[in-house]
Amino acid sequence: MVALLLGSCTGKRVNFDRGIIPPVPVSFSSVNSAFDDYNSDLRITWAEQTFSLFFSSNRNSFGDDFDVVSYIGTIYFDLIDGTFTMNSSGTGFDILETLNSSSNEFGPFFTDDEESDYPEPGDEGRFFFSSDRNGTLDIFCCRYNYEDVAYNPVGEPFPLDNLNTEYDEGYLTIHYDEVADHEVVYFTSDRDGTFDIWRATGEAGSLIDESSPVNITSMTQLNSSADDKCPYIDGNVMVFASDREGGYGGFDLWYSVWDGQQWMAPVNFGDKINTEYDEYRPVMVITDKHYFLNDMMIFSSDRPGGKGGFDLYYVGISGF
């Protein structure tokens, strides 16, 4: 009791037990530019409240070709006043010099194949992206090592010939644990005329980039007669962009939930996220519920109010 009376505790009363990512889209102004910024991938280390962000931008060429750029930064939620901030504190990783070319690089997606909660020195992973350096968009992979808060390339990027065709392919994402001992990936391709979402299953015991020609199927329960692009999966939720009917204009963001057997019918994210403008390339990060109540989605949009062209926005999502 004496300790309590004399004030050994300096805690303040908080108004939030956990953080809440703003449920309305917020421009990621600390990384956006007057050029097009889109197609991101994001890794968040919740315990340290830091993030690594990769996305495509044509800022380096002043509006010409797209390169992958990167930022690191911090995430902070004030449990008293409810403000959420994502601030960049640095930029650039060595791996970008290996990835980028004079052509376009889109749709970064990087894995932590060690499956650790936060990147540790020596972690190995794969950095997938798409590039039109060979004429049409193809999916490439570059292996990396994580060392000293840096993603260091191991070897040169190589195309995934078991997925690529003479048409456009891109935006590879992995659905972990869908099939035991097989790596299952989803990606976009217009090999059937319009852009659709396709599924590929690797060989038993092999990563998708090490597999021989793989089983590829169109995701008819997800696709429409319009363009369906940019699938991204975290946990058992897939988010993607589509300009199908039932939206709010242009490309909208949709999601589908894996029920353990199949993907459920796509659901529009609604008018709090979608607008009459284009919303594109959503990336979802399931949060650590010890720190946040809702999950995070980053997407790009050319809606008014940004810095110009497509800008990145983040928004809190929930209810899956």
Binding site: C9, R13, N15
Partner: protein
């Protein structure tokens, strides 16, 4: 413990001073009812550090005063119940969440129960009226409102159990007695009160917090002289 010992020493010395005064000191029982109103951070209605979202509520006090012409001592107890501003608290969640889902706030009241002792400084009685300043300190048992905030989309956003917290108290007050007879009178009190209890918060990140609670009271009541001179 040193602080408590020092306070007791001051009270004892004051008592000795009072006892040496002439004429015979008064022994007075006082009881009054009134209202308590939060101020300072305790009354803030926005998400800021130490904002209490406290409004006002009933206050009841009873005490014993023993004083001479210029000084004396006092012992007292008080119970205060201050309402929590649910509407303002919900408005802050509505603002932060920008209309995402519907927020519901359920909150009880703040409770403060105090046991205090202290000094009385006064001017000599004139026209049956006594004006005195009271400075008291002691122990307070406080209870934080049981608080739950729900959002239809996010679930439970915040909760604090209605757990008790303890604190040292500090009170400074002005008391005016008007004696209707040698034994009975009426009294008007106003005081500034400060406590800073520590409360538990099992669902919060720190598990506990201190909340400065400052409020003033305005009370009216009766005073009864216990050692009234024989008629």
């Amino acid at each position: 413990m040193k602080k408590l010992g020092f306070l007791l020493l001051i009270i004892t010395m004051s008592s000795a001073t009072v006892l040496s005064q002439k004429p015979v000191p008064k022994s007075v029982f006082s009881a009054d009812l009134g209202v308590a109103v939060a101020y300072d951070e305790f009354a803030l209605n926005s998400f800021e550090y130490d904002a209490g979202f406290a409004t006002a509520g009933p206050n009841a006090e009873a005490g014993f005063l023993y004083y001479g012409r210029f000084a004396g001592i006092s012992l007292g107890m008080a119970y205060t119940n201050i309402f929590f501003n649910e509407k303002a608290y919900q408005a802050e969640y509505d603002r932060v969440l920008s209309g995402y889902g519907e927020n519901t706030v359920n909150a009880g009241n703040y409770h403060v129960f105090k046991l205090q002792a202290g000094l009385v400084l006064k001017v000599p009685e004139f026209r049956h009226t006594e004006v005195m300043l009271l400075f008291q300190t002691g122990y307070a048992l406080c209870v934080h409102p049981e608080l739950t905030v729900m959002n239809t989309e996010l679930g439970e956003i915040n909760s604090i159990a209605g757990t008790p917290g303890e604190s040292i108290t500090g009170t400074a007050g002005l008391k005016v007695n008007y004696w209707l007879s040698d034994r009975f009178g009426v009294t008007l009190n106003s005081s500034l009160n400060a406590v800073r209890p520590g409360f538990g918060d099992d669902t919060g990140p720190a598990g506990a917090f201190f909340l400065p609670m400052r409020y003033y009271t305005v009370d009216a009541g009766l005073v009864i002289r216990i050692n009234a001179p024989a008629q």
